[in-house]
């Protein structure tokens, strides 16, 4: 069975045979970098198309269907269009911050890729504090938004940036707390460790009530953290036209757009890893036959399948719900999610200590 | 109250009322001078209680302007028209926007369209027309705009 892990190993051996360790590492890094860029571009194209198709189906219409077979090349055409557009800079803008903000957004979402396990034992950086790393990095997302909103010298942008400042920062806490329940049950912050702990069942199945609650809170929190509807107050188009990226046009706008989708992907990937076992196949205790079939499906398919399922849920939210108001948004966090999350962590600790989980 | 009863009731409270005949509703002719008191009476008197100013406009008769107020009582369901004749060169009348808040917007519209100045209006400035339109009154009969008007 071909796997990412083996491929990486083979490339590593092949390179090590032919050159010194330093050069091999450097070349590997270039390769990995190119792959990351490729993944970025691919994900952008796929996710935007998926969003448009999902929304179209929910809205009883067809969606893009003209460019390419079934409209598959629509996003590629859109990207080309955005590349050809002129990027405007407002006169009164803080030029440096204005140009740096989209780059910053891209770099942050790129860095978020590091601890993601795309397949079994296939990670760029299996750091022993992987979960904490993701929490830390995802809170950097707000900085690019604040930069963009402040630098634009536009009132809509400023309002959007201020809103997202309060919002992302708040939901950071809930995301952290819900992640903690799984950490408590596993006893490790390492992503690979967490995946291995789910070999006999995903946490969503064996973690009882606290994990279910944590899962719901996590989904809500990442929807808010990535500025997706119904929490898209930073870019609420009926209130602030486009919020923090009102002044961005052309490719810089596209970069923000892309970064948002990549963040959705990465955070859904984390959610899939923590709660749904990531690349771990679906196993049922002693049903050997079923388990073997499940093992036969490559682990990367499992990972991407689960991640896209979560992404679909988040898109489903977006195309169903109205937007919250800023004070309701913060109320939801501080009055409901945060107290619930705190109690939930204690509950998870209780279960972990008593060994009640399966 | 029907039309005649309303007329009688108002005449009882406002003896100097002058009526115009031949319209759908009872039509009270006012003078600019006692006009604010008359309107206050119509608005506040418990029997009349004309609390709904549903239409307010101005008519340019080429010799003079006529302000037309259409009033209704939501409680008693009677309707009344009040007309006030104004001087065409320097039209001025007391505002009624403190009695009916809707008059605030309507008076601004009449102000820019007919040039009637409403005294003591809280915020008398152009509402519909762009800045710099003062002095030309589009709904007056002698208004000419060679660019934007199409004569048929």
């Amino acid at each position: 069975m071909w796997s990412f892990q083996q491929a990486a190993q083979q490339i590593h051996e092949w390179l090590s045979e032919r050159m010194s360790a330093g050069w091999a590492l450097a070349l590997e890094m270039v390769l990995a970098g190119l792959m990351a860029i490729g993944l970025f571009a691919m994900l952008g194209l796929i996710l935007v198309l998926m969003e448009r198709k999902v929304s179209a189906r929910m809205q009883v219409r067809l969606g893009p269907n003209r460019v390419g077979p079934k409209g598959m090349l629509q996003t590629a055409a859109d990207t080309l269009k955005l590349l050809l557009k002129e990027g405007l800079t407002p006169d009164g803008a803080d030029k440096w911050l204005f140009h740096a903000a989209p780059i910053m957004a891209i770099v942050v979402s790129m860095l978020l890729l590091a601890p993601i396990a795309f397949a079994m034992d296939f990670q760029l950086w299996d750091v022993n504090i992987g979960v904490l790393y993701v929490s830390a990095m995802s809170s950097l997302m707000v900085i690019s938004i604040l930069m963009a909103g402040w630098a634009s010298n536009s009132k809509y942008s400023l309002l959007g940036a201020m809103r997202s400042g309060a919002q992302i920062v708040s939901y950071e806490l809930s995301a952290g707390l819900s992640v903690l329940t799984v950490v408590t049950l596993t006893g490790s912050l390492q992503i690979s460790e967490i995946i291995r702990s789910q070999a006999d069942g995903w946490w969503i199945f064996k973690g009882h009530v606290p994990v279910w609650i944590a899962f719901v809170i996590f989904i809500i929190a990442i929807t808010a953290e990535t500025n997706r509807a119904p929490f898209d107050l930073a870019e609420a188009e009926s209130e602030l036209t486009a919020g923090f990226h009102t002044e961005y046009s052309g490719i810089k706008f596209a970069l923000f757009f892309l970064a948002e989708y990549i963040n959705v992907f990465v955070l859904c990937g984390i959610g899939a890893t923590l709660f749904l076992g990531g690349p771990m196949p679906f196993h049922i205790g002693s049903w050997e036959g079923l388990n073997r079939i499940m093992d036969w499906i490559p682990s990367s398919v499992w990972f991407f399948g689960k991640t896209f399922l979560l992404i679909f849920v988040i898109m489903w939210f977006r195309w169903t719900f109205p937007r919250l108001r800023i004070d309701q948004l913060l109320n939801l966090e501080w009055k409901y999610l945060l107290p619930l999350g705190m109690v939930n962590v204690l509950l998870a600790a209780l279960i972990a200590i008593k060994g009640w989980h399966f | 109250m029907n039309r005649e009863e309303l007329k009688a009731a108002i005449t009882g409270k406002w003896p100097s009322a002058v009526w115009e005949e031949g319209n759908e509703w009872a039509t009270l002719l006012g003078e600019p001078e006692p006009f604010p008191h008359m309107m206050t009476l119509l608005r506040q008197d418990p029997d009349l209680q004309m609390d709904y100013l549903f239409c307010m406009t101005c008519v340019d008769w080429k010799t003079h302007l006529t302000m037309v107020y259409h009033l209704r009582s939501m409680a008693h369901r009677h309707e009344l028209t009040v007309k006030v004749k104004l001087d065409r060169t320097n039209p001025q009348i007391e505002t009624v926007s403190h009695l009916w808040r809707t008059a605030e917007f309507h008076e601004r519209e009449v102000y820019e369209m007919f040039g009637v100045r409403f005294l003591n209006h809280p915020d008398l400035r152009l509402l519909i027309l762009p800045e710099g339109w003062e002095g030309k009154f589009p709904l007056r009969k002698d208004f000419e705009d060679p660019v934007n008007m199409i004569r048929l």
Partner: protein
């Protein structure tokens, strides 16, 4: 009590959200409900109702004859001045001078499709057509002459 109400609020809210999500999922799973019409592709099968008011036309018969007497009723009826009758005098067989149209100019760019001209026409010379693709690059192309070149009035129409 407070805690119970707090939890009940959460539950109710979640249920109401789930109901909405069920409805959108219902449509997501049913492509048959899609109502999009693929317009330029279905042009051939597009059926407009016979009363659809697309533009004013003047029907001509196979001998290039129309029914317009040049009476200007349509011109008078039009609220926007979209129709202009430019008429001339023809000498009939009996040697009498008779009013007839030279051109019936129709300004499609001014027309509001109110149907008043058709109602006003005493000889049913004009009618509404079902065409609707009127976009052109130059506004002057919307000024149309309704009578065909060389056409003349049908026999017996007064």
């Amino acid at each position: 009590m407070g805690v119970i109400r707090y939890l009940r609020d959460i539950w109710r809210g979640a249920v109401s959200l789930a109901r909405g999500m069920r409805r959108t999922l219902y449509y997501f799973l049913r492509p048959k409900e899609i109502i999009t019409q693929q317009y330029p592709d279905n042009r051939l099968t597009l059926n407009l109702p016979e009363r659809f008011k697309g533009e004013v036309v003047m029907p001509h018969n196979e001998n290039n004859e129309h029914r317009c007497t040049g009476c200007q009723a349509c011109e008078l009826a039009c609220p926007n001045g979209s129709l202009k009758v430019i008429y001339k005098y023809e000498i009939t067989a009996e040697g009498k001078k008779k009013k007839a149209i030279d051109k019936l100019v129709y300004h499609l760019e001014l027309c509001t499709m109110c149907n008043l001209c058709i109602e006003a026409c005493p000889s049913d010379a004009i009618k509404m057509a079902q065409t609707f693709e009127h976009s052109v690059f130059d506004r002057s192309q919307l000024i149309k002459i309704l009578n065909k070149p060389g056409s003349k009035i049908m026999e017996g129409v007064e």
